[in-house]
């Protein structure tokens, strides 16, 4: 017999708990959940809408004079909205598949997967913003280059714009990283640890 078995009977007969009566339970039923899934859902919704708001702020200038950029703009927009639709669809699909009645490992992996879709979405937004800046840079550079000017002056202009664009891009990336460090490392640490513990078990 296992030494621990002596505890089993006592454990099973243990009644030494606070008593919750029917009125208490009824009150609880009408409270809001504080589960991590709910937190993640709300944060994700804010982030998803933030991406759309950001897309409205993307640099856009009057590009009619350059037909090539007009086309690039149009194509990018189509790609952008298709990608957003794809991420949002994935997010809702995995969110609705989260069920507290599934196995622990499955539950944890679904929650992390839902989160991953939003993370990819944010990453995509950042890359898209950088891409938009780059396109604007190329366009600006082409416009500002005056062929009658000396080569040196043109070069300086291009360098100045490039430095500016790089700085803005770096700023965006650091804000993104800082935000994730603050919000998610803490929120998901426990979840990740527990999931890793279960996964490690299967790999041994």
């Amino acid at each position: 017999m296992d030494e621990l078995d002596q505890f089993k009977k006592q454990w099973q007969e243990d009644e030494n708990f606070i008593k919750v009566d029917q009125t208490d339970i009824k009150t609880m039923l009408h409270k809001s959940s504080t589960s991590i899934v709910k937190w993640i859902f709300m944060i994700s919704l804010i982030e998803l809408s933030l991406g759309i708001i950001l897309s409205l702020l993307l640099p856009s200038s009057n590009r009619n004079e350059l037909p090539f950029f007009h086309f690039v703009d149009y194509a990018s927009e189509v790609v952008f909205y298709c990608a957003i639709a794809y991420f949002i669809y994935n997010f809702f699909k995995s969110y609705t598949s989260i069920s507290s009645t599934s196995s622990t490992k499955n539950l944890l992996s679904r929650i992390l997967e839902t989160r991953k879709h939003v993370e990819n979405y944010i990453k995509f937004n950042i890359y898209f913003i950088m891409y938009s800046f780059f396109i604007s840079f190329v366009e600006l550079a082409i416009r500002k280059i005056n062929l009658t000017n000396q080569w040196g002056a043109n070069f300086l202009k291009v360098i100045a714009i490039a430095v500016l664009i790089t700085l803005v891009a770096c700023l965006f990336i650091s804000i993104f990283k800082f935000y994730y460090k603050i919000v998610y490392r803490r929120l998901l640490k426990k979840l990740n640890n527990n999931y890793e513990e279960l996964t490690r078990l299967e790999q041994e």
Partner: protein, 166 residues
């Protein structure tokens, strides 16, 4: 009898299942209450799907463990931003009888040294669940459940021995 009333009666009758989960995942009274409330909400949400499918207790411990394992909480603080209802303030821990419950107290203390997954395993062991059910609950294979269970039991025994309870 309506659905809510049916659920409330079932939960009241089976509440110790939930209390035991709360007690192994926390030794703080306010966190215990928060966790109990959260598990109750989760149970209630999936109750329409559960009805009649399995034994209430079987279904309740699974949701209970999943909620405890995935709940976010600050180290020393309960996460709940919703104030505990005034009506529930009257609930308090019963006075402990050290003579009667010495062994159980040691057991709970020892369990608190384990990680979340190990706690779930010990809980399922103490509740006398078989390995098929344990494996299914955690989502791992039966072989791995056995291996991990043996390790966890050894770890628990070592802690109990250190405390002089074994």
């Amino acid at each position: 009898m309506n659905l809510e009333q049916e659920f409330v009666i079932l939960l009241e009758k089976n509440q110790n299942i939930i209390h035991k989960i709360c007690k192994i995942y926390t030794d703080q009274e306010d966190v215990h209450k928060d966790l109990f409330q959260e598990i109750t909400i989760q149970l209630w949400h999936s109750y329409p799907k559960f009805r009649g499918e399995a034994k209430f207790s079987t279904w309740a411990y699974r949701i209970g463990l999943n909620t405890a394992i995935s709940l976010f909480r600050n180290k020393k603080k309960a996460i709940s931003i919703i104030p505990w209802d005034q009506a529930l303030e009257k609930i308090s821990y019963e006075e402990y009888d050290p003579q009667k419950d010495d062994q159980l107290r040691y057991l709970y203390e020892a369990i608190h040294h384990l990680n979340d997954i190990e706690k779930a395993l010990v809980y399922l062991y103490l509740e006398d669940k078989d390995y098929t059910e344990i494996a299914e609950t955690l989502g791992i294979s039966e072989v791995n459940a056995r291996v991990k269970m043996n390790r966890t039991k050894t770890k628990l025994k070592e802690i109990l021995k250190k405390k002089g309870a074994l």
